[in-house]
Symmetry: C2
Subunit: 221 residues, 2 copies
Amino acid sequence: MSDTSKPVIGIIGGTGDLGSGLAKGWAAAGYKVVIGSRSREKAAALAPELGAGVIGEDNVGAASAADIVVLAVPFASHDATIEEIKPAVQGKIVVDAAVPLVPPKVSTVQLPGEGSAAQIAQRLLGDGVKVVSAFHNVGAAKLHAGGRVDCDVLVFSDDKEARAAVIEIAGAVANRGVGGGVLANSAAAEALTSVLIWINRHYKVPGAGISITGLEGAAQA
Amino acid sequence: MSDTSKPVIGIIGGTGDLGSGLAKGWAAAGYKVVIGSRSREKAAALAPELGAGVIGEDNVGAASAADIVVLAVPFASHDATIEEIKPAVQGKIVVDAAVPLVPPKVSTVQLPGEGSAAQIAQRLLGDGVKVVSAFHNVGAAKLHAGGRVDCDVLVFSDDKEARAAVIEIAGAVANRGVGGGVLANSAAAEALTSVLIWINRHYKVPGAGISITGLEGAAQA
């Protein structure tokens, strides 16, 4: 069931592993979710499996329908997808969850020259879009298994209100969202993804994540 | 009390906040610790306050006396200090704990062009030195308060045995050491330091850290 006081969440790359897992989690938490895909047919076919009321559209359709647009596409299609949805997301919050992995060495940190995928997104989208970076370290397998994932979600943005809005939706799919500072700090979470892939392989675990310690008694913010 | 089966740990920059905190922790865990400083007198005066048997030397003296050499200097003196101790650390493990903060914006990630401070250290020290990266995210205040710090320590190296040796000494000052992959992955922990500084300020906590989730039942490694 969806709640009209909550933002509509559009997920670009919503038929992928992370995108569909996030859709499932937000639908279960009562959000209206629209998944987008290059193929509208594919998205429409998958949508009902992810929860009651989940709708499938093409990427531009999902971006147009949503209040908060989550970008969950492989880094190889990151820039082209951003150019495609750019007109539909002006004035909105765009949450970049793309990780700049460079195959085949996905367990080695190889950040882009610009610093982070999130900073590239902000440059391409322009100042009319509030770019937030989050969800890089949430295990897709755990999302599909149902229930909230046992990890924290670091949330970065140059816009305070946009950061707060994404901290709130993060708390619906993981233990909690934790603000991590300006958009440039996204480099930390993007780099951590390669570290967590290495840990999964080395320690033979399905979905390592991170938790922030020392926040007991923290000021609300 | 020190244990002769354990490696001797030398701490370059051992009179600083992080260095002296680590010295205190390792001394309490039974390691023989030699702290180094630019001023031998300063190190010798502080050493007895950090634990029984802690010795103070100049930086080269501490590097010469140790099996494992920990570099805990500000990034501004990182390269010069490495050049100074280079002859004394050939064949040894050097643990780079330096964080590439760029004042005044220390809560904004600003990684060096080479990727990480640790990769700079490896290049300067040459292939005869096993560089490991660790301890970027351990709160010095918590070390000085005594007891192990409630966080995990990510440990990066291109050398498997060196990584294992540092994972072991990390477990003496924090919850545990966790391998994080190759030295290039140090970028993640170095970037995280700025994120944690931001979190400390924003949430008004004294020492945020990280913990790796999902390691229950992990293979020993």
